[in-house]
Symmetry: C2
Subunit: 699 residues, 2 copies
């Protein structure tokens, strides 16, 4: 049984090799004429400049946390110095791998954009789709490959560490890996979210509104920053977010599997017979730990197979092509999971938990589409309400976003209950693993969006023929829907992962129950429920501040260099990129500090039970806010597009819908997605520091 870990390692390597193959394909695809290559290199350099600056700060932060973990954790109960430093090393590995995934994913995405524009010019829709998807897939396979490989190797190394029994200690130290992933995700999501919207608003307000030049016009000094922003937000940010969910869910499953109270005294426990069927408890623990890793391995292989179908059929629309790829991937994963579940446990129960999660993910995707796609009546209603102005557009959009919380939450609720019914708390972690097993596919589809969007920008700036822009527009519009679905998936996976991590926290902190009749717990819940509101508010006002700096810079350039507007002078793109980068990094500090300190302070002051309340409160209110903001934003965006296709730009309802779209931008691209990180990060901080928390001043 133990040797199966090598299978996980091998599949991790396969995933990375496949990423390398795709990366190579994207690199060698022709990038078009000199102008296109020039613009592409601007975007790429801008993106790399952001990453470089971000990673510099992260390096400092990582070192600091590394030392804190090694030195502070041994102060807690039952934490040896060895365990503390192993946690610190795990943290370091998790952080580095997440950063690497972001780095390669961004390089691929920012290389693919001009290749897509060029393919659209020379070969048409299918070739363009295929390259765009390959570009996105690099990020996808880097995330799952590095995630699986990293966790498998950490597990393997610790199993062979002299004098160290991983089945005793792994549940404590492996959380460090999750903390590393979470830290990078925090910076990438929050910083990326601020970057992309500051650049976007700056480009729109001065360029489009004040100067009256079209979208993606090369005369706009912030146009490159805007294109960089798409990558920074939707490639690097989303990738790091899902890397965190991915490793978080595996870690929770390993922790819950390994630390399960053995022998199970409760014959009603659905896992009782499974544990009994193993020769020794030791062996059952190994099985529980390996199962989630292998499921993710299956997911990677299935995803590779699924990608082969994308962009291959000549007569299939891009939207359908992407869907077919997803369904094939999901189907293979399901079938192989049944086999694995019977092979390892001789039971369908772990599989059933996996399936609950996978179905949750797919259903939530479908519902997200209902609330945010122009085909359905919600978006039409918002478009209709724009006839009476911006206020009714806003009220309607907010109300659609709020209503849209109901079904996803009910689905998560049912999924959680089923997963628990089939395999107890371990089942909840498995549901989360199940949902995330095909995340390589989700990331690829999501990262495809900004690539297509960038390709359109390049086509525009390089004055390519109108037909090219039509193709990229079509690819981009598919990207908008998939982005909304990707966001729904990111939120629900964050919710399930946080739930699973939450259960691990209770195990690790040795909490038998968290009683909401205890006032400290209630107070923890209240404060916890407030944090997502505070966090969202900070994120949104950060966008406002960063956008203001950008607006001033763009105005300055137009004023000081009048030649820019006539096209005789080149705008200073680099300056705008610098400003976006600097403001994003400055503005993400306060929210980040809150996210890290809130659980630690609550744990120290009010105790570990109140901290449990804090996590539960922030989990439930964070999920609602995140769904609400993502779906309102998506719906407003598409309501605007609906009106553009109907009454057209310049109409009364169009200006009303532009207001909605602008409000929706920080909702769906900054505040909303940041909440995924908040709820996961706080839980994993609690998990890592569990040992230093006592019963609090009221305990």
């Amino acid at each position: 049984m133990t040797n199966l870990i090598y299978a996980a390692v091998a599949i991790g390597v396969i995933g990375l090799l496949y990423a390398a193959v795709l990366y190579h394909k994207v690199q060698k695809a022709p990038k078009g004429n000199e102008r296109m290559r020039e613009i592409q290199s601007f975007i790429k350099e801008g993106a790399m400049a952001f990453l470089k600056k971000e990673y510099k700060i992260l390096a400092f932060f990582t070192l600091l946390v590394f030392l804190v973990l090694g030195l502070i954790l041994p102060l807690g109960k039952n934490v040896s110095s060895l365990n503390a430093w192993l946690t610190a090393v795990n943290f370091f590995i998790g952080a580095v791998l997440s950063a690497l995934a972001g780095f390669f994913g961004m390089r691929a995405a920012t290389s693919a954009n001009s290749a897509v524009a060029n393919a659209a010019k020379d070969h048409g829709m299918n070739k363009a789709l295929s390259i765009a998807f390959n570009g996105g897939s690099v990020m996808g396979f880097c995330v799952v490959g590095l995630g699986l490989l990293g966790l498998s190797i950490v597990y393997l190394l610790e199993a062979n560490l002299p004098g160290y029994n991983p089945n005793e200690g792994i549940q404590d130290v492996i959380n460090g890996f999750g903390l590393g992933a979470s830290s990078i995700a925090l910076f990438a999501r929050v910083g990326g979210g601020i970057y992309t919207k500051a650049a976007d608003v700056g480009a729109d307000l001065v360029g489009k509104v004040e100067m009256g030049i079209p979208e993606d016009d090369p005369r706009n000094p912030s146009v490159i920053a805007d294109n960089v922003g798409d990558n920074v937000g939707d490639v690097a940010g989303m990738g790091a977010d899902l890397f965190e969910s991915y490793v978080g869910s595996i870690i929770a499953a390993i922790t819950l599997g390994v630390s399960m109270q053995m022998p199970l005294s409760d014959t009603n426990n659905p896992l009782y017979n499974i544990v009994e069927s193993f020769a020794s408890y030791e062996e059952s623990r190994v099985a529980f730990a390996l199962f989630p890793l292998l499921i993710c391995g299956i997911g990677i292989l299935a995803t590779i197979f699924g990608t082969l179908f994308i962009g291959s059929g000549e007569k299939i629309s891009p939207h359908k092509s992407l869907k077919i790829g997803t369904y094939i991937t999901a189907f293979i994963t399901v079938v192989a999971s049944i086999a694995l579940s019977f092979f390892i446990f001789n039971s369908f129960r772990p599989f059933a938990a996996i399936l609950s999660g996978l179905l949750c993910g797919i259903l939530i995707g479908i519902f997200t589409e209902i609330y945010t796609s122009s085909e359905h009546h919600y978006v039409k209603r918002i478009a209709d309400q724009s006839k009476t102005g911006a206020a009714t557009n806003i009220i309607c959009g907010i109300s659609v976003g709020m209503v849209s919380t109901a079904l996803p939450v009910l689905i998560i609720a049912i999924g959680t209950l089923l997963a628990y019914y089939f395999a107890n708390l371990y089942g909840i972690a498995l549901a989360s693993v199940g949902m995330l097993s095909i995340v390589g596919n989700t990331i690829a589809i999501d990262a495809y969006g900004p690539i297509a969007d960038n390709a359109g920008g390049i086509a525009q700036m390089a004055d390519l023929p109108h037909e090219v822009r039509e193709i990229t527009d079509k690819l981009d519009s598919v990207g908008n829907t998939t982005a909304a679905i990707g966001k729904g998936f990111a939120i629900s996976s964050a919710a399930l992962t946080a739930l699973a991590l939450y259960a691990s926290y209770a195990q690790v902190a040795d909490i038998k129950m968290i009683d909401i009749l205890n006032p400290s717990v209630v107070v923890g819940m209240l404060v916890g429920a407030m944090l997502p509101f505070l966090f969202s508010a900070l994120a949104m006002s950060s966008v406002g501040k960063a956008a203001n700096v950008m607006i001033k810079e763009v105005r300055r350039q137009f004023k000081e260099k009048p030649g820019i507007f006539e096209g005789t002078e080149k705008p200073e793109y680099a300056k705008c990129i610098e400003i976006s980068t600097a403001s994003a990094i400055k503005e993400m500090t306060l929210p980040s500090i809150i996210a890290i300190l809130a659980p630690i302070l609550t744990g120290l002051i009010l105790g570990k039970n109140a901290l449990g309340g804090l996590l539960a409160g922030s989990l439930v209110s964070g999920i609602m806010l995140a769904i609400f903001m993502a779906n309102s934003g998506g719906a407003w965006d598409n309501a605007k597009k609906t009106i553009e296709q109907g009454q057209g730009k310049g109409s009364f309802e169009h200006s009303a819908s532009v207001v909605g779209d602008t409000v929706g931008d920080p909702f769906k691209d900054t505040a909303g997605p940041s909440l995924n990180i908040l709820i996961k990060l706080m839980t994993i901080v609690a998990l890592v520091f569990a040992s230093i928390f006592g019963n609090g001043i009221f305990g």
Copy 2:
């Protein structure tokens, strides 16, 4: 000791007599010329028409619930048929008293408006303030008088019921009273909120925007409905909301006091020494039950004393005058509470819990002012952000509302912990009682707002001299700030009351703990946290629908009777009132059903622990949403006013700020306040039906 209940009865009667005196004063105050009296009678008749229609439906609803309670409750565990019918009778009394308070309060408010306009014309600011405040005080004293008298008499009667020991059963049956109050509050708040905004939007959109006639112009067919709406929302709605909180907090304190596990086995319990000091447990129970009633008695007497200072000083601004009245009331309440606490318990502890709550209420009022008043930088920032258009105005307003959740929540958290520290769960209920002991004053100040507003409308419609309108405008602007503070108070009192009722629920349902590690509880929390979002969305889209019907009607009248615009024909005011009434009543059905059925279904399907989770989830997310919506709305409103005083109407930033204000209307007047009811009502429904819930299908 037992005889002290007669003191509570007596003070209840004094409160009502004082209300009668004020009512008489208001009635006999001169109502101005014929035109003013005519308009006043339109408004009054409109308001009464709404109440009549609402009460008709309520009568049917009350009868239905009465039968359900009497017939269904005995199916639960340990509920005798006697207890069930007593609960039903209590329910009936609670509902009738709340309806009566609404009826008298509305009559007074809709009589006072023209008297205020007339006083402003003949005697100036102080007399006008005094009448407006007296008009509002009728509602205030009806609420506290009927609340205290009703609960005392119920307690007294049951104590003397042959063969019935109130100290055994009162905690079960008295909840019926709370359910009655909650039911009326639901209809009054949700229906009233929809009514007022439908009329407001209808009047504004067609009258001001389409036809270009000023606010409060008698040619506008919906102008009377708009004025009626102010009363329906801010007098009847707020009054019923706070009546519910008031009786809810007393009920929770009685329930927790009486059902406390005796003898207290835990010497660490802060109440241990208190209970020990009584001659018998029986006697200590009576003391615990009477204390909250007597504290409220003190509050009523203090409020009467405080009102004497309002409008009396010639040189004091209205805002200051109202504040002085509040502080005097609070100070007397504090001093007398110390005395009562030592007299009954020979301990400062119950007093300390009371004080925690009272301070919470006052501090939250102050913070609400910081976030919503034009004097402070939040509103200024929104006004500033209007320079870049409606979108930045909206984003900034939303972000201010979200940030504004932080401090009130921390205050509630600290208040709750202190109250618990001083007097355990009973202390949390006492904190709520403490906060609400001076609610007569809060309601008076709040109901004063629409009276002043209506007076302005009457002055406008009756063509009174410009100076009159200036005085009423000044009174009205003070009313806007006090309304925002009143809303903050209503939310925080709802939160504390719900917390206290929540603790009672656990006692009554005999739940020893509600473990958030139990998946059913987590799922309950998730669903619970979602309900306020769903409820808000429904309330907001109801306003949209109702406003649409109104808009069509106003357009029809202008079209079919062109004489209206020239002033030669009278608009059909009654038709608009009818439409507002009918839509409000139609639209409140769905949200009401959700609020009542959600806890019952959860309790039946997932069991009483999951129901505990549901209540906790809706409590924490509901409070955040309610604070967010109320404060965003208030801040937008004042940002618009700030701009009107600066750049003026018609400026670019003014149109942007109008969008914010319009979005804020359903936020602060419909959805936000309805959430107070949602969280209290669901808890009290759970409390009343606790005995019929089992452990659920997963238990």
